[in-house]
Symmetry: C2
């Protein structure tokens, strides 16, 4: 693996041909925006490319896709965007492991699996990195490229809310808005942040109505047991990404969601509001993650699990 | 009333003395950020000032306030910020009506009640206007001024989410982040957007659990009747500002909240997701508002009110 610069990446892209662009499984706004903006940029240069993903693109991202797909072809080069680890290719891993010529990413955890790696760990999103690459290439931005880049930066930062937001994220958003004032950024944001599926709304109901408060209201626990999920028509998977709701009540430092996988087997997700290192807590139980977002798996009765979790969190508060 | 420019405003502020700064009742992030940043700027110039508000500043904005308040003095000039109408002075109206020397605002609905008016209707927030004024004045930005301005711009745009967000909003946020990289913008955003009081959380529960779907799932109605509110320990006022939750389910165009004021008297709040003009609908019932956010009052039985509302909305879909 060779680390390369923005300029090297621009030169590589200008000279590549017949590219497959790989994005990660469970695709989100950033990898979709990265993949499809890159496809549009390459098309502008007369270079054929296809975006490949192990999972289908969720319908709400449909507005980022091109009107027509490129026909099948044999790739001459493989590029991955926003993929830190080949495992995240999902079912495509077996086909492309060890074959990636260029990776463009912003995850400091990137495993360096590609021949060439453009890694900007300070960037909020892969789309923020690609914005710089496209400017270096002197590409003409189109409405679709602008929507892709804005969506990627907005979704990875919670609409410019999280600590990964950089001055560049704001400046690039401003430049896109200046160049394309008619794009309805507000409707993109509504679609990305405010609109929810019926099952997601029911899952939020479970979160709000089952919240337990512990340790002087500094810790919340929500139990998504099999019976609670079934009786609300919610899949255990619908609860994914909702753990941060446990941090909403005033004064809470740690929010915990306990999802029952099968009888007596629980997947724990933990979020920290400020400075508690939940990764260290989850490591005690054989799990791990980031400082503010981590997880682990536990078995036992509800009471046992509650006691073990609270004892560990109490020590860290 | 004389409309004045950024430069005129800067000159006026440099030469004023002993100023009272009035902000609107029910103070929000933008008027608080405007008022206290202006006080800090004037203090830098050796000019005494006090921020006056009819209502107390909510505790979550405490981090924007100066360490010590100025002692009482008789004002030589009265400045209002982010106040479109003297009525919004609340209990301070009787003291200061007709006495405002300078108003700085971004509401196009500003009534022009002050001697001098700096109005920038395209700005997302009064703090966005003041940012330009302070730069014109050549003020040295401090950490407190930066936090005030960021908070005002972030809160008035829903964290850069709404259609009022301008390229300048993003650029000014970027410049503040560059100049003060150690401010925890993410914690400000968490406090402003994610942290909720227990009664607010219970009110959201009411919203989610009482949602009715009508007209092909394009319209939601939530009934906050007196008995529903009482049995959940929620004041009818806690439901304020929650109407937009009715727009969360996929495909909804109009969200309606019906709050029972007293038996049989209902306050209606209506929100539009995209293009339905809810102001026109509410005008039919003697109310009004903005295109995407309006209200009115109705009396009658629940069934009568539902029928009248749905008939009016159906015509507009």
């Amino acid at each position: 693996m060779k680390p390369i610069s923005i300029a090297d990446t621009a030169a590589y892209l200008r000279n590549c041909r017949d590219a497959y662009i790989l994005i990660h499984r469970s695709p989100d706004g950033d990898c979709i925006g990265s993949g499809y903006s890159l496809q549009a940029v390459l098309r502008q240069l007369g270079i054929r490319s296809r975006v490949l993903c192990a999972d289908p693109i969720p319908p709400r991202f449909g507005f980022l896709l091109p009107d027509e797909e490129e026909e099948e072809f044999t790739p001459q080069c493989i590029i991955s965007v926003d993929v830190a680890d080949e495992k995240l290719f999902g079912d495509l891993e077996k086909l492309y492991r060890g074959r990636v010529n260029l990776c463009i990413d912003h995850h400091i955890s990137n495993l360096g699996y590609a021949d060439r790696l453009l890694l900007e760990g300070d960037s909020a999103a892969a789309c923020e990195v690609l914005y710089k690459v496209y400017r270096e290439m002197g590409v003409t931005f189109t409405r679709q490229i602008a929507m892709c880049l804005y969506t990627g930066m907005a979704t990875d930062t919670g609409c410019f809310k999280f600590s990964n937001t950089t001055p560049n994220t704001h400046i690039f958003a401003a430049e896109l808005m200046r160049e394309f004032p008619d794009i309805r950024y507000d409707l993109i944001n509504r679609e990305m942040f405010d609109v929810k599926s019926p099952s997601r709304l029911r899952a939020e109901m479970i979160m709000l109505s089952n919240m337990e408060y512990h340790l002087n209201h500094k810790v919340t626990i929500v139990w998504a047991t099999l019976d609670v999920c079934h009786s609300n028509g919610v899949d255990e998977k619908d609860m994914e990404g909702l753990t941060s709701l446990g941090l909403q009540p005033e004064g809470v430092e740690v929010g915990i969601t306990v999802r029952e996988r099968e009888a007596g087997v629980y997947k724990i997700s933990m979020r920290s509001a400020r400075d508690v290192n939940v990764s260290a807590i989850c490591q005690k139980f054989g799990g791990g993650g980031h400082i503010k977002a981590a997880g682990c798996q536990l078995e036992g009765t509800r009471e046992e699990i509650r006691d073990r979790l609270l004892a560990a969190v109490e020590g860290a508060l």
